[in-house]
Amino acid sequence: MSYLLRRLASSTVVLFGVTVLTFGLVHLTPGDPARTVLAERQGRQPSEADVREFRAEQGLNDPVPIQYGNWLGDVLRGDLGRSYYGDGDVLELLLAYLPNTIELAGASILIAVAIAIPAGVVSAVYRGTWIDYVSQGTSLIGVSMPNFWLGYLLIIGGALRLGVFPVYGAGTLAHLVLPAITLGTGMAAVLTRLVRSSLLETLEEPYVDAARARGLAERGVVTAHALRTALLPVVTMIGLQLGYVLGGAVVVEVVFQRPGLGTLLVDAVFARDFPVIQGVTLLVGATFVLVNLLTDLAYHRLDPRVSLGGGRA
């Protein structure tokens, strides 16, 4: 129980830090956001009166801690502010973009798992053979591949040459294929290595040897005993990969011009649309902290070797 409390407390602290960081980021900006935003909005240099009005409207004249307090209060009430452009409510924007990104992340994880588990298992079982080398080599290349290039290779091959898949946009299953392959294969490369090493490790555990000694066939040993244990860290890893999927989604969404949190963030960064930047980073950061917390708690539940009282260093 005390572990749970401590874990919750530290997550809260981190979450608080996430809000400070999110809020603080945009105050790094050189130049006056009011001027920049108005210039972009009106397509010409804003008048001083407009700038003053905008600053007052957006509370930009208050001292920074006050601005932070106001902002946090609003956030806690579910009000993430409004985009500087148009009339978009930031929360609404996030909720509208989120499904596309979740869809992409989910599909990519599926692809990654579908590739990584068989590849990792085969690689471990045939350790040291050419099969292992091919699998390891491929995953190393996968790890080293910039996903924007992979994306364009797929566009050239799958869309421009074959004409099979739509290149840009979102909405149908067909739109999902190329981006999900791009993001999924990169992740598969990481996971394959993990599955392999994790399985190799378990295969050397005494109880697996015991199973072998009882005369179980190697295939049985692998599937019945080793794999189950070996996949535990893999599952945790998939949870932790969420952050990396989101990071990768930024670039992949831009390559495929796919509406999602990534394109939303990139556009907001280039337009200096601070409320939207804050909204996306906050959402991403908070999600990560929560997923981390849940993964940790689940891990403590599942793995009897981790003592609940002691915590970890």
Binding site: L25, M145, Y244, T281, V284, F288, A313
Partner: protein
């Protein structure tokens, strides 16, 4: 001292290095050798590049624009008729320089923070580690994107953004090493004898931390190259006409249909460079720490974070 003496000295020094147990382990490790060769080749190419190519990376020949790969232009020419291969060669300097610089800054910040946290303990440790947690709550590229975007596009800002968000892993590794060291009998002994902290650090802690940090840094190089290329691709990197690989790929995509080499050549260059550093990193880790199987997970390999 005579010239031959110096040479002999050098040679024996070189032999000593080559025979050092770590280096010997490295030499027996195929992935380290392959990675080392790739990295060395790119480095050499970056340095002697100008000698290898008859072209100026910025020389425009509009009559020759968008020419496909040929003997004269192995990777074709771009939309302004510049030789792509030459630009890649010059770009290697930017890519490698940036990767080394960013990694060095990350390493420095991380080591200092890790040492302070591990050595001071208490609330200092707590505060620094929560800061690390906060930074880790964001995918690195997201945070770097926001920081670089807010500072404005330039190589310096890109390097700054990548360095500021990426030092956390070093801090964690160093901190846990320090914690571990502190419990070792010889460290406790020297502390009991009243040796100053700094000496304990230098004598016992730093040497033990160096191995894992070097491995981490080598693996990190690839990650930095990928992240830098990714952010440049998004438009936050080098200013034109600098032949930065990610930027080249990004400009090339406007000619995807008729000149796919403009995308593929820089893409290939990035893969080779990252592959080289990853191989080297893998090999280094195995050589320095052959027992550490648990860490041999994919997580350690640099990714697009």
């Amino acid at each position: 001292m005579s010239v031959t003496g110096v040479l002999a000295n050098r040679r024996s020094a070189l032999a000593a290095i080559l025979e050092h147990p770590t280096i010997r382990a490295l030499r027996r490790n195929p992935s380290a050798v392959a990675g080392g060769l790739v990295v060395a080749t790119i480095t050499v190419l970056a340095i002697v590049g100008p000698v290898l190519t008859p072209y100026d990376p910025n020389a425009q020949h509009l009559g020759n624009r968008l020419q496909g790969p040929s003997l004269a232009h192995p990777f074709g020419t771009d939309q302004l008729g510049r030789d792509v291969a030459t630009r890649l060669l010059y770009g290697a300097r930017i890519t490698l320089g940036l990767a080394v610089l960013v990694t060095a800054v990350r390493l420095t910040i991380g080591v200092v923070v890790g040492l302070i946290a591990g050595y001071c303990g208490g609330w200092v440790d707590e505060a620094l580690m929560r800061l690390v947690d906060v930074l880790l709550a964001f995918p690195g590229i997201v945070l770097a994107l926001v920081v670089a975007g807010i500072l404005g596009p330039s190589l310096t800002n890109l390097a700054l953004a990548l360095a500021v968000v990426g030092w956390t892993r070093y801090a964690r590794v160093v901190r846990s090493s320090v914690l571990e060291m502190r419990e070792r009998p010889f460290v406790q002994a020297s502390r009991l004898t009243g040796a100053p902290r700094r000496r304990v650090l230098r004598r016992h802690v730093l040497p033990n931390v160096a191995g894992p940090v070097v491995v981490l840094a080598t693996l990190d190089l690839g990650g930095v190259i990928l992240a830098a290329a990714g952010l440049s691709f998004l438009g936050l990197g080098a200013q034109p006409p600098a032949p930065e690989w990610g930027t080249m790929l990004s400009t090339g995509r406007h000619h995807l249909r008729e000149a796919s080499w403009l995308v593929n050549a820089p893409g290939l260059a990035i893969v080779v460079a990252v592959l080289g550093t990853n191989l080297l990193g893998d090999g280094l880790r195995d050589a320095l720490d052959p027992n550490d199987r648990t860490e041999r997970s994919g997580r350690e390999v640099s990714r697009r974070d």
